[in-house]
């Protein structure tokens, strides 16, 4: 386990550094003058000269890479072209909002999806089972932004039940939480369907295993078999999916933040692209990728830890 952990963390660090290098050289890979690519065709010569100087675009590429990686490791992501403020101070509060939204969505996904799956597996052919199997196929094909738009249309525009816009402020917890409901539902609905189906089928599979029959033969109560034996085994594949969940929810925040006009990293990046504000875009993209890598790291370690068969394979291949 220790060897695995070292290798796995080491790989995550390497990949983050590789990503930083990729983001630093990206403007140089696109054919044309980097400053002009960043600013678009309509930029004034003064602006181009200013950007070239402030981003060090005249330096050799390796110097640019070194500067960006070194500064980014110190939490410095350059200067916002539009506001002239440091990017790091511009992204601080959107980052908090996006993290809260992502965490709430993650918890909501698991808290609804897993019990649904259990209910469907325990009462096979019952109401919950029929619903899970019927609705999930459609829900699995609907993107978060469609659910977000439909929620906005239904609950804000038509019924006026939930506040539509903004993310509120943390000093008003009630209003803040109320504004989280629709975005979090939009981001987790997919996982309700997915996790419900996965938990259902893996629980049914475990329930058919010989060791479950043996437990029954020993007189274990059905309840104990379901929740202590079957559920524990059925949750391992759910852990394996955590990495995908992190990716889905993170990219979903971009849409949900735009739809519900929340302050967040995603909406910040979209407006920064409109303003051709590359330092901001680059910083946000880096944070998203780093969050994805860290989420996967956590998921992997948990997966290994939960499945004793994997824990023993010290030399297993390391992957994100």
């Amino acid at each position: 386990m220790v060897l695995y952990l070292t290798k796995r963390v080491g790989l995550a660090v390497v990949v983050i550094v590789v990503i930083m290098i990729m983001l630093a050289v990206l403007v140089n890979l696109v054919p044309g003058d980097p400053a002009r690519i960043i600013l678009g065709t309509h930029a004034t010569p003064q602006l181009i000269a200013q950007v070239r100087r402030s981003m060090g675009l005249d330096n050799p590429v390796y110097v640019q890479v070194w500067d960006f990686v070194w500064q980014a490791l110190h939490g410095n992501f350059g200067t916002d072209f539009v506001s002239q403020a440091p990017v790091s101070s511009e992204i601080a509060s959107p980052l908090v909002n996006t993290l809260i939204l992502s965490l709430v969505s993650f918890v909501l996904s698991v808290a609804v999806g897993v019990p649904l799956g259990i209910a469907a597996a325990v009462r096979r052919g019952g109401l919950v089972d029929t619903l899970v199997r019927g609705i999930s196929v459609v829900l699995l094909s609907v993107p978060a932004y469609v659910i977000g738009l439909l929620l906005l249309l239904g609950f804000s525009v038509r019924l006026h039940i939930l506040p539509a816009l903004g993310s509120g402020s943390l000093s008003d917890i009630g209003g803040y939480a109320e504004r989280l409901i629709m975005p979090a539902v939009a981001l987790s609905a997919f996982w309700w369907a997915y996790l419900a189906r996965l938990v259902r089928s893996s629980m049914l599979e475990v329930l058919g295993e010989p060791f479950v029959r043996t437990s029954r033969a020993y007189g274990l109560r059905e309840r104990a078999i379901r929740y202590r034996v079957a559920l524990k085994n059925a949750l391992v594949p759910v852990t394996a999916l955590t990495g995908l969940m992190v990716g889905y929810i993170l990219s979903g925040t971009v849409f949900v933040e735009v739809i519900f006009e929340r302050t967040g990293l995603g909406s910040l990046a979209v407006s920064a692209i409109g303003n051709r504000d590359w330092p901001v875009v680059r910083a946000v993209v880096l944070i998203y990728a780093a969050a994805f890598i860290l989420g996967n790291l956590g998921a992997d370690v948990a997966y290994r830890f939960l499945d004793p068969r994997l824990r023993l394979e010290e030399d297993a291949e390391v992957f994100i």
Partner: protein, 313 residues
């Protein structure tokens, strides 16, 4: 690894257990199931709609009419009109074209590029393998939309750049799957036998490893098409993908979102179309997986019922 582990969970040894009897027999097995037949029929219908869009539309999707903007549904405009007075239904119908024009080439491109890179990494090993694996990991760390944010702001939005972004975000998934399968195939005796008979590496890869690793990937391809459609429309919705005035589902969603208070029916057209298309491909992919993988057949219901009845009662 968890992405990889997830793929394993999703594919769960797809290849095993199914006797490959050629693509025609496989297609027949898929279509023989009701779900597969319906999904295939819907997809065929969507493709026909895309091809014959100009003959099907009630109105020119680009015809602006400033005297009739954001109109409610009527006999003339079944889904109403948008902020420039264009017929929503006609634009949704043409949107089928754009959706398939982006999704099919991007998934196919990713499939081909990923297969070549994955087989190269798995078969040759060594430094090439290490570099490719790290590169896959680096690219996979950007969810497709985030990759879109980074690249489209620099290379500019267009149909080609959207195809490129989606393909690039999918390449590492195919690359990894094929690499893992190639590694396990390479250990087989038949590869060693073939090599000792003097076959070149290229021949072994092409004639023996390729057919063996490709079959289970068809499922992934079918499942990735809806993702590509979703990403394409999503990027267009954000204003980063296909640009107006192209009649694209995401572009229509964007216009409808801006006018959601006054003309809610505008977003409903593309939403329904999008969900039909993605559901059809998802169901097709799942049916293909079920056909390939008999393990998905769970213990029979009567057996479980009897079990629990005996023990509960």
């Amino acid at each position: 690894m968890s992405v990889q582990a997830a793929q394993q969970v999703l594919l769960s040894e797809t290849a095993s257990g199914y006797e490959p009897r050629g693509p025609v027999a496989f297609a027949r097995d898929v279509v023989r199931r009701p779900a597969g037949a319906i999904a295939a029929a819907v997809i065929l219908l969507l493709v026909l709609v895309a091809i014959f869009a100009p003959l099907l539309v009630p109105d020119n999707p680009d015809a602006i009419n400033v005297t009739n903007t954001l109109a409610s549904p009527s006999a003339h405009h079944l889904l109403g009109t948008d902020s420039l007075g264009r017929d929503n239904l006609s634009r949704v119908i043409f949107g089928t074209r754009v959706a398939l024009e982006v999704a099919l080439p991007s998934v196919l491109g990713a499939f081909i590029a990923g297969s070549v890179l994955g087989m190269a990494a798995g078969y040759f090993g060594g430094l090439a393998d290490k570099v490719l694996v790290i590169a896959f990991d680096a690219v996979i760390s950007f969810p497709a939309v985030i990759l879109g944010l980074a690249l489209l702001s620099l290379i500019g939005p267009s149909i080609q750049s959207v195809v490129f972004v989606i393909a690039l975000s999918l390449v590492p998934y195919y690359g990894r799957l094929i690499r893992a399968q190639t590694l396990s195939e390479r250990k087989n005796q038949y590869v060693k036998a073939e090599r000792s008979l003097g076959a070149s590496r290229a021949r072994v890869l092409r004639r023996h490893i390729l057919p063996n690793v490709l079959a289970p990937l068809l499922v992934v391809v079918a499942m990735d098409i809806p993702s590509a459609v979703i990403i394409e429309a999503g990027l267009a919705f954000l204003g980063l993908g296909v640009q107006p005035p192209t009649p694209d589902w995401g572009v229509i969603l964007n216009d409808g979102f801006a006018n959601i208070g006054t003309s809610p029916w505008e977003i409903l057209g593309p939403i329904v179309a999008l969900v039909i298309m993605t559901t059809a491909f998802t169901v097709l992919g799942e049916t293909m997986r079920d056909v390939l993988d008999p393990r998905q057949r769970l213990p029979r219901r009567s057996f479980l019922k009897r079990r629990s009845r005996d023990l509960d009662g």
